[in-house]
Symmetry: C2
Subunit: 559 residues, 2 copies
């Protein structure tokens, strides 16, 4: 194992962990963090007790509401930024969700926006004054990008002395600044990024703030936890196997995994960069469907295809959004429902959520049906996707662990420990296999009337620590490169979502995962589903998500 | 070396070669093929002497003219099909440009179209009655796809007894039929497809019909030769290093290499299928810019993204076309000119063509400037592109040669003879390198005012047999994945395009290529250039190509 200079990884990790905590102003520090038995859910009223009333008002607004207030001048960018810096600081202390803070820079940027507003009498851009959090793959000047690796501290992607360290900014960072967003923190990730939980040797473990027995998800887990705590109105994560959707689902948020080539990934840090069979994509998570739409639409308005050679020139298509609304209004939307992928059954609360969403669509007069792609399709796609993750036999991540000599978390795929690299012929075979799967899935889709289909993001509402044993409900979407939006549907109710004693597992894995469900432990966890669309139809998905958000709220009010 | 059953490859190749010739009706056979000294150029008046006047009238029309006549009922689909079957038959006898003919099926399809027209009083689709030729990578029912391999005769992509043999059709074939096109022949390719000439053991060598001292180009060389001879108004080729643009340029045609993901490649045969660092793309070649536009627009109207999972949902954008015309009309178009890529100088006629086109743009009042990307950019991109072609060390093509034991043509890259496969880490490094090149090129572009830029497609107007020694003028476009349209500018005039005795070569390769230029041999060869646009801006490129076609014609009329 390597080492970073003369210092042991434990010391470097502890120093960085301490630096993150120390970057929080003393006035915002908490005396005591409650145990999970004392306070399972630290969101909402719990965290708000530490805030001023105005801060609560600001941080309870969603991204759309914040931008409206900022654009009208009702709230200054500085007061918005301060409120979120405060709430993010509390959030981190409660669940370990931040990797970097840069509150001073944020307040300076907010001040500039306020000056601009005072001078021009109008907002600088569609995100004027909106705090936006970023997963720790974005490079932002002034701070590290560690991606959870101890060996990346004070380097540029592991390279000591690289002049880009703390100076280079990712393309989307440039765009967000131009659009008027205020950047203030970067959020926790699992080292390697290839994990449905968030764990690394710097921040250690990020907990689910709605239920601290559970994981916040991963790999954009810090984003999910922070937004659920109200420490951010919205931010950006990435997704190569579910890493936006899993934390969105586990934390009860809206989140979009766009089609590859829709939003700009240029200049981001990544694992196994250059593996291009299944591309990681960047996308927004937010507390409302409107927030996700706002962020997506804003980035597209910056014409990212002029600066990222992998982005397709497809601006936000308002006509597709309107058409979708008309489709819904005229009861012509057709929605398929995937209740079981043939490999692993979802836990009881997810079955209930599928029923709730199906009922909501049906009640509106729109069409619902069983989504039943050929039985072998999901297992085949998922097997191919998992091959792409281990093309290099773990060479890339092993190198990054070796920089400091740190150990990897047990949750990280152990197939990387020792494995030969794939050769060109086997990579080509995987690419052909994926293309054939995509074609077959498209042919199935064309044989239905479906506009979109609904599926779980994972077999569990959220993973219990160390028990994320099946990624297939999210990764098949990456294999097919389809856009998908997560919609929170309900929360686990231990009295309703009881164990299904009659369940007949189809495999040992299925049995194990089903047995991980415990109503006592899961009580209160968010239960979410994903809505999957045809490639590049993000506008359609977001229109449907907004509509369903309203329908589900209506139902809550009347039930 | 393997063998195909008990029969030597020579016999199998000769039998297939004979079958192609025998598929030509006796009444259309030529008694004698003139030597090149007797008749260098066999296009135009030469080939037309063997046709009836009505056949000449029909086959001289471009695709737009044909579709107009068919749509008005002035010409029947059957008479159009017959005229092109006749002219294609003559073309093949003159230059060896066909791999498959299916004239009876074409005439039956044309009859059905005529019946449809009689019943409905309107054309079946935007390509109603238009004969469309296809490179021998398209699968069409009833005939082989050999891609020039003896070992693929009577198989499906080399597999004996595969039920898809002679029954399966590529996705674009389905779309073309739906749009009203009449399919009647498939055109010659070099075996492996990785060659700028067209040569294989079945049809042997395909000559340039405008100057039979020269190559028709490759790999869509049969398309180029056939269309130049008027044996097809337009057809489809593919391009992974220049294979649409090279034959378009060498034969004086318009041809479009679209952005990857714009037109459907689904279900085509290919070499090294599954290599996805630089994707082969499919695109049209035609005798007019309008023909290329018609074919592109028609395919997009079939919504190929519903059937090919790699196609982006970008319909034909008429607004971009109109905007481009407005730009030109208001003298605001900005065109860069790349006169030399830093590695190999273009031959004198290409230098003259660059001047002619630059003058035409400048004379219109639009903007011209020198396109000068960073000096290392083209060599770096081309080196990376060439790596992608040999990822598998030739395993795929060696297997296909081994099926029959046939030898490969000396023109085929000898690097494939024996070379280890690339591993995942080196493929990832190439992918990262290509992305960095694309980003740097985009940054250069953003620093100019350019809408598009112009470059040669090759350093020579057309290659002399066995002397295609530099592919860099076309392949850099594939590395950057930019759309490019070829525009024929002039023809070599031996009295004008003299050898540049003062030329100082920058390398041995440069010296060799420059010394291949011989005005006597090249006299009469077409001289063409490519116009390169931003990703997915095919509409803009085609509007510019149509405009330039008019400007260059004006110039010819007035000079």
């Amino acid at each position: 194992m390597g080492s970073n200079g003369d210092t042991a990884w434990q010391e470097l990790a502890a120093a960085k962990r301490g630096a993150i905590l120390n970057s929080i102003p003393v006035k915002w520090r908490l005396d005591k963090i409650p145990t999970v038995d004392e306070q399972r859910n630290v969101t909402g009223a719990y965290i708000e007790q530490f805030l001023l009333p105005k801060e609560v008002e600001i941080t309870k607004a969603d991204a759309v509401g914040i931008v409206e207030k900022a654009a009208s001048g009702a709230w200054s960018a500085v007061e918005i930024a301060e409120a979120f810096c405060h709430r993010a600081s509390l959030s981190h202390q409660l669940v370990n969700c931040l990797h970097e803070t840069f509150f001073d820079a944020a307040l300076a940027d907010a001040k500039e926006l306020d000056d601009w507003f005072a001078e021009h009498g109008k907002p600088k851009g569609p995100l004027h004054g909106l705090p936006v959090s970023l997963k720790d793959q974005f490079h932002v000047k002034g701070v590290d990008t560690t991606m959870g690796y101890v060996g990346w501290i004070d380097t540029f992607q592991g390279q000591k002395g690289d002049p880009r360290s703390k100076t280079f900014e990712s393309e989307m960072v440039r765009e967000l600044r131009q659009l008027g967003a205020v950047l203030y923190c970067k959020t926790a990730v699992p080292h390697t990024l290839m994990c449905g939980e968030t764990v690394n040797n710097i921040i250690e473990y990020t907990w689910n703030p709605k239920n601290r027995h559970l994981s916040c998800g991963g790999s954009s887990g810090g984003e999910g936890a922070l937004i659920a705590l109200g420490g951010s109105p919205g931010g950006f994560g990435t997704d190569i196997g579910g890493s936006i959707r899993i934390p969105s689902a586990f934390n009860g948020l809206f989140g979009l995994r766009p089609t590859s080539g829709r939003l700009p990934y240029e200049g981001m840090a990544n694992s196994m960069d250059g593996q291009n069979s299944v591309l990681s994509v960047v996308g927004p998570l937010a507390s409302s469907a409107g927030g996700v739409k706002l962020l997506t639409k804003a980035i597209l308005s910056a014409e990212p295809w002029l600066h990222d050679p992998l982005v397709a020139e497809i601006p936000w298509r308002g006509d597709l959004e309107v058409k979708t609304k008309d489709l819904i209004a005229s009861s012509k939307l057709s929605v398929g429902f995937l209740d079981h992928d043939g490999a692993v059954a979802p836990h009881p609360p997810l079955k209930r959520a599928l029923g709730l969403l199906r009922d909501a669509v049906a009640r509106s007069g729109n069409q619902v049906f069983d989504w039943q792609p050929p039985a072998s399709s999901h297992p085949t796609i998922n097997e191919l996707v998992s091959k792409t993750w281990i093309y290099d036999g773990g060479a890339d991540v092993r190198q990054d662990f070796a920089r400091s000599g740190e150990p990897w978390a047990p949750q990280i795929l152990d197939v990387w420990q020792e494995r030969p690299q794939a050769d060109a012929a086997s990579i080509a075979a995987t690419n052909r296999g994926l293309r054939a799967c995509r074609k077959a899935y498209l042919d199935y889709w064309n044989g239905t009337a479906a506009d979109v289909f609904v599926a779980p993001c994972a077999p569990f509402p959220a993973a219990r620590p160390g028990r994320f044993d099946y990624i297939g409900y999210s990764s098949f979407v990456n294999g097919l490169d389809l856009p998908s939006v997560v919609v929170p549907v309900t929360t686990v109710e231990k009295g309703v979502d009881v164990v299904d004693a009659s369940y007949q597992p189809v495999s040992e894995l299925d049995k194990k995962i089903q047995s991980d469900y415990d109503p006592e432990i899961y009580d209160g966890a968010p239960v979410s589903l994903q809505i999957i669309g045809r490639r590049y139809q993000e506008e359609k998905l977001l229109a449907i998500a907004e509509w369903l958000e309203g329908e589900l709220n209506k139902e809550l009010l009347t039930s």
